[in-house]
């Protein structure tokens, strides 16, 4: 019997959907109002955030299918920040290609909603729905510039591989259900804890679901789509794509890891996940070195970063989960910051975004360049930036679990990554402006996005305590 508490639990999602609806209606019936759709989106996101922070959090809701607590608040907040920043930077970007329509924002919002559902559901049913909501919206967003080949191709590829992975997820869920008789992760966990034999069906099911998530995280070997899709999609979408689904998927994996207590289920999991994690780090970093297109490079860097986050997932427990949560927060701001500057420093979306095009921008666009460099150093994990704090917590958790080899491989990888992050910086500052000065987008809004995220990066870097303590409380709830 649904209560009001259940409504509170999903209030942010409801607000978002309402906002999206309004946007679509405007698109259809009041084309004049289109130019405010960007602002409207920001408003919606803000409203959702308000609901998130102001309304009470009943904990378990919808007869235990979802959970609305500090954890969901934290993740949802990250997601909302992400969508806020992305739609903020999307405005000018779309306007230049005069593609600004309400549906774009509506889709962004829907995707976010889906992600939030994923993050806060314990039952695989709403989880799967959220996943699909997210994916389907993203398929469209990737291909949003449908007259731009690369964009279209990105959409196509994401769609095919995505649907393929989704099918695996679905089938995996089915198997899990078959093995345990329930679709509720926690319940599954309890039945396992109750000493139910670990059947092949269960393992296969879990592997398939995990694979589905790994696909969203673009973890090796599920990463193949990422570079193409990142490069092809409109930059704001890429920014969104690079953080939102990953945040959601990480939480799902965490839920499984904790509910099933995978770490102690035997070494096989540590090996499997370890290979995936380290594989992603290594492959991501090494291949990123040789990329010429900065978006593509960041795709590989993203692969690597999810590899680090995976370490936290492996460790799980309070330490691991809190580390992962901090990582999500940090990764969100630094990535969006980077992509904001990239969307600023591009001549048009059809052309590849060559790193070398940034030459000399350090001195002609100092603030934007500064923001980008901050993101780069942060991604490289150099103090005092968010990226360092995040990695610090991750590796700490690994060391505490005696998984020192994971930590060592991780730091070595972040060393390799310094190579290509540094390249961006020195091309910004140490290479002369090209003879033909590229006419890059000039926009206060995007600048603001870059500024805000850079500021957050520095803030989290210098004083990670707030995020960390929040993450710890959340993690405790998760572990309990």
């Amino acid at each position: 019997m649904p209560t009001q508490a259940d409504l509170f639990a999903v209030a942010p999602e409801l607000i978002l959907i309402a906002g999206a609806g309004v946007l679509l209606l405007i698109d259809a019936f009041a084309p004049k109002l289109r130019q405010i759709s960007s602002e409207l989106t920001l408003l919606t996101a803000a409203g959702a955030a308000w609901a998130l922070l102001a309304l009470p959090h009943p904990g378990a809701a919808w007869s235990g299918m979802m959970r609305s607590d500090t954890l969901s608040v934290l993740v949802s907040l990250c997601l909302l920040v992400a969508v806020f920043l992305c739609s903020w930077m999307a405005g000018p970007y779309l306007r230049r290609a005069n593609k600004e329509t309400g549906e774009f924002y509506a889709l962004l919002i829907f995707a976010t909603t889906g992600a939030m559902f994923m993050a806060s559901s314990i039952d695989l049913l709403p989880l799967f729905l959220g996943l699909e909501l997210l994916s389907v919206a993203l398929y469209v967003l990737n291909a949003f510039f449908k007259d731009v080949d690369v964009s279209l191709e990105a959409g196509l590829k994401y769609f095919i591989v995505g649907a393929f992975a989704a099918a695996f997820t679905a089938y995996g869920i089915a198997l899990l259900y078959g093995a345990t008789g329930t679709t509720n992760i926690e319940v599954m966990g309890r039945t396992l804890g109750g000493g139910a034999a670990v059947s092949p069906v269960l393992i296969a099911g879990f592997a398939m679901v995990a694979g589905g998530m790994a696909f969203k995280l673009a973890l090796f070997p599920f990463h193949a789509w990422a570079p193409d899709v990142y490069q092809g999609s409109p930059t704001p979408v890429t920014a969104f794509l690079s953080v939102v689904p990953k945040a959601a998927a990480l939480i799902v994996l965490l839920r499984f890891a904790i509910a099933f207590d995978l770490l102690h289920m035997g070494h096989s999991w540590v090996w499997a996940a370890g290979i995936v994690a380290v594989g992603s780090q290594t492959l991501g970093n090494i291949v990123a070195i040789v990329q010429r297109d900065i978006k593509r490079m960041l795709a590989y860097s993203g692969i690597a970063h999810m590899g680090y986050a995976m370490v936290g997932v492996i460790v799980a427990g309070t330490a691991g989960s809190s580390a992962v949560l901090v990582y999500i927060a940090a990764y969100t701001v630094m990535n969006i910051g980077a992509f904001a500057v990239i969307s600023l420093m591009s001549e048009n979306e059809a052309e590849p975004h060559l790193i070398t095009d940034l030459a000399g921008q350090g001195w002609s666009r100092p603030l934007a360049a500064l923001a980008l460099s901050i993101s780069m150093f942060s991604l490289a994990g150099v103090p005092p930036f968010a990226g360092f704090a995040a990695k610090f917590f991750i590796f700490r958790s690994a060391v505490n679990q005696g998984l020192i080899w994971l930590a060592v491989l991780g730091v070595i990888n972040s060393l390799i990554s310094a190579f290509y992050y540094l390249r961006v910086v020195y091309i910004l500052y140490m290479k002369p402006l090209p003879r033909r000065v590229p006419d890059f987008l000039r926009s206060r809004a995007i600048g603001a996005v870059a500024g805000v995220s850079a500021a957050l990066v520095v803030l989290i870097g210098l004083y990670p305590t707030w995020v960390f303590s929040a993450a710890r409380t959340a993690a405790k709830l998760l572990v309990r």
Partner: protein, 500 residues
């Protein structure tokens, strides 16, 4: 100002200054320079206050700041303090900053603002690394150093600056990333013993001492963690064979950059050995001493040999640094009080004399835009005063008694002799080679027939440059004649440090 805030002011002062500079419009270059200079002078004044309030009889850390929780869940806090060893190095740093700024007055002509901001940030990072009593804090400062130095080399450097900058960054990071794991492991084992999370230096010190010494290297936690720290520091020092980043960085960096690099950055390596490796992992230290000794001696001789055949003055000085820091490492490895005090003093000496050398090379480089020894010869005739100063600094760097270099090397070798006479005999050969390469350079640059006509127009060193080098020269002589001023403050600290 309450005395316990003094260190905070000294450490974070430059950063604050950088912030101020950021708000001064970039086109007012003069203002920028003057502001930076004033800030650095204020810094020096503050650190003199440190000296004034420092009590040489206390062995432990003093003038500590209050412990401000930073990441309390992990027992990480903002906590600074100095002992006699770090005091000297702090003084050295704050002394060098104005020198660098004055030295860069003309040579840095573009992006002046950015240059000074990076410079000040760098200062904060270096000072922080010297004075932090929380290992996490130390690590943050330690890594923070990379970014400004990266820019200083890469933006204002010579032709191959980008290669040098990246090389510097990556090379240094190679060591420090593993150190991070080491730190984490220490904190973890500390937690195992005390069930409290802490990154405080004092706690990790205990934790490190209690680490197991296994039978083989790979099964011995203490040795592994030791190695993790040692690698970071050895690269920074740089010890042979981790030194190849240094010549490139030194040669490509602008004069100011080279001065800081040689003057302070390298000291962080040796300081790290003294502050972390030695007291934290005593057993592992003793196991590694032979290796360190050998590498130190190799460094001394090897650096000297390679310096012998350098056609480029800056490269020559760079390799001489390798040789000099070999002496420092030798002193630390020997671990007698005399040798250790000598080593610490030698850190300062090297900072002064090598800093001065780079400065003077920069002076002539500004005029002729070449650092090639072959492009000079007989210029003592046209630039007598410059020649005099250069000669003085050269002599200090080859350890002429009465100048600073001698005191340091004397103490190091005399102290080391008690334990490792053979090492001393080999190291002493370094004194000969030192004289050879330095004097040979002097001969080819200042003596010999006057070959290049374009040198006729060389202007002798001007007042600004004299002002820049003067402080260094003063201390070069002061330390040479009355080193006790600088030895006595560290006596207690070194003693207690070696007791463990």
């Amino acid at each position: 100002m309450h005395i316990e805030h003094l260190l905070t002011f000294v450490t974070l002062g430059p950063a604050a200054g950088a912030l101020i500079l950021a708000f001064i419009p970039g086109r007012l270059e003069k203002v920028q320079r003057w502001a930076a200079l004033l800030i650095s002078l204020a810094e020096f004044a503050l650190s003199c206050l440190l000296w004034a309030n420092f009590n040489p009889d206390i062995a432990g850390f003093q003038l500590q700041t209050a412990k401000v929780p930073w990441i309390p869940q992990l027992g990480i806090s903002y906590h600074l303090g100095i002992d006699g060893i770090s005091l000297l190095l702090v003084m050295l740093t704050t002394l060098l900053m104005p020198v660098v700024i004055i030295a860069s007055w003309r040579s840095i002509s573009e992006h002046v603002k950015a240059f000074h901001i990076s410079l000040l940030m760098l200062t904060t990072a270096m000072l922080g690394a010297f004075v932090s009593l929380d290992v996490f804090l130390f690590y943050v400062f330690w890594e923070l150093m990379l970014i400004p130095m990266y820019f200083i080399i890469g933006v204002w450097g010579g032709p191959r600056r980008i290669y040098a900058a990246v090389k510097f960054f990556i090379y240094t990071m190679v060591g420090s990333v593993l150190m991070l794991v080491g730190i984490l492991y220490l904190a973890y084992s500390n937690h195992l013993q005390t069930h409290v999370w802490s990154f405080a230096y004092s706690d990790l010190l205990k934790a490190g001492r209690q680490l197991q010494m296994g039978h083989s290297f790979f099964t011995s936690p203490q040795m592994l963690v030791f190695a993790a720290f040692a690698l970071a520091f050895a690269i920074k020092v740089p010890m042979f064979p981790f030194h190849t980043w240094l010549p490139d960085a030194h040669t490509e960096a602008p004069t100011g950059g080279s001065i800081i690099l040689a003057g302070v950055l390298l000291k962080l390596g040796t300081y790290g050995f003294l502050r972390y490796n030695r007291p934290m992992f005593p057993d592992a230290w003793h196991a590694f001493v032979p290796l360190i000794l050998v590498l130190a001696v190799i460094g001394i001789l090897y650096g000297a040999w390679v310096a012998l055949v350098q056609p480029d003055m800056k490269k020559l000085v760079a390799y001489s640094s390798v040789s000099h820091l070999g002496f420092v490492m030798l002193g630390l490895a020997a671990g007698t009080i005399a040798s250790t005090e000598g080593a610490v003093l030698q850190m300062v000496n090297h900072g002064l004399s090598t800093g001065a050398l780079f400065l003077l090379v920069g002076v002539i480089y500004e005029r002729r835009h070449t650092r090639m020894i072959a492009d000079y010869g007989g210029i003592a005739r046209v630039v007598p005063v410059y020649t005099g100063l250069f000669l003085l600094v050269t002599l200090s760097s080859i350890g002429l008694p009465g100048l600073n270099g001698f005191v340091g090397e004397f103490l190091i070798l005399a102290g080391t002799w008690r334990r490792y006479p053979v090492a001393v005999i080999f190291a002493a050969l370094g004194l000969i080679f030192g004289a050879i390469y330095m004097l040979w350079m002097v001969q080819r640059v200042f003596w010999n027939p006057f070959t290049h006509e374009e040198n006729k127009s060389l202007k002798d060193i001007n007042l600004r440059e004299v002002l820049a080098v003067a402080p260094l020269v003063i201390f070069i002589v002061w330390i040479g004649v009355h080193p006790t001023t600088f030895l006595s403050p560290m006596e207690a600290a070194v003693r207690s440090l070696l007791m463990h």
